[in-house]
Symmetry: C2
Subunit: 273 residues, 2 copies
Amino acid sequence: MLMECRPLLSEARCEPVIAGTVLDQDGKQLPTQMPGERALTLYLDKREIVTLMSLGQLPEALVLGYLRNQRLVENLRDVASIQVDWQVGAAAITTLDGDGGERCNDLLRRRTVTAGCGQGTQFGNALERLTPLRDDGFRVARSTLFALIDRVRQLDTVYKRSGAVHGCVLAAGSRILHHVEDIGRHNAVDSISGLMWMEGEAGSDKLFYTTGRLTSEMVIKVVEMGIPVLVSRSGTTEMGLDVARQCGVTLIGRARNERFMVFNGAERIDFAA
Amino acid sequence: MLMECRPLLSEARCEPVIAGTVLDQDGKQLPTQMPGERALTLYLDKREIVTLMSLGQLPEALVLGYLRNQRLVENLRDVASIQVDWQVGAAAITTLDGDGGERCNDLLRRRTVTAGCGQGTQFGNALERLTPLRDDGFRVARSTLFALIDRVRQLDTVYKRSGAVHGCVLAAGSRILHHVEDIGRHNAVDSISGLMWMEGEAGSDKLFYTTGRLTSEMVIKVVEMGIPVLVSRSGTTEMGLDVARQCGVTLIGRARNERFMVFNGAERIDFAA
């Protein structure tokens, strides 16, 4: 339940950047920094479901977002507790009905390894379950997009210190509500989804920014969060665009330096503003 | 068997780039190109095992590499045939003993969702099964690395036309033997693994280049292919470095424009040459 999840949030953070030494192309020693990477194995009502590799900054939000996006838990109130223990790299999730393990078995029967950068996994058949977003009149000004893109650029990030991570942002207009980085961009998205769930935050008037590509499973996750506008500094794939069209998502790519491309849903953008 | 796999290779290629139209930041129409993305569901002895999202350029090599890297098939000669049908998005794999589906069930009991960009999946516990690479005296000159990095830069790529894909290269010195791009970088790696398997190519005197980050599962795959040197234009994560140390992989990151960083295994590099 809400009160039992929240207190854990800040306690189990890990240091995201590790210092090390490398040799450069001349064989000279150089100090360097790299992102920390920790294995977190999720046990849902004692059933092992998955091991996520993560920076470990918001493990409980990651766990909740993962359970939400995989539809392993339907409502936040069904989650009794989440206990993260980095000593053993485990997150123990208990549900009120104690039936989480059984639901897993049902869903595991059909796995889809999705595009992403790796071979992402989604339980069940995500596309079939999607409810397209309606156009409820939400609009965003070009100047707001420019301002958001510029604010994201100015963030103090793990990426700037160490590279090799992806970042996601949930925004209200150009105001950044959440910024999460992780080794896998799906972990970053899932963590934001978990934060939104805990805070009862609606997606319908929000924008979502990702440093990653606009692949189908990224668009699917945004639809599941009910967010109408997805922005990336990268491009889209054919299926990413396809899902955006089917589900009514405004898809904006190659966004940087007061430039962007609108792949779908331009009606939500006020170019004059 | 070899003779039954090979003829399928060139027949099932898909067009990797799709033309489309987008709006720019001023609302003006622009032509654009994006990578094609197709779902390929693998059936191993009639058991559905996974759906891969792919550019579809080398589907049989991808299937073989996937089966090899997931250890769903131990020897190439165990594979009787692979039939790819893009009309239905299916690859039917038959093994000689017909027991592939059963092996899947065993391996599915333990899944690890790895870092990557998405949440990659590896059947079983890859790390435990790894055999560290021995130092058999293989060395590479700095000038060779510079030459390889420059050749990779000059390749005619889907990435240059459409963005949003990852590329991998297998090289002998600075000579490029295979270059594969795909939506997911793991598909690109798996395809190269499949090509090496079909051609009976040893990894011990080769270099592997990836546009993606040096995460643990990328290093694991290189170890499984027996390749001692892994090069990326991106950085490494903590676990990527950890696996490289445990398994004796020379790990080179941030490689571009006659610069690179050696994270591990500098003894294989001749800096003077």
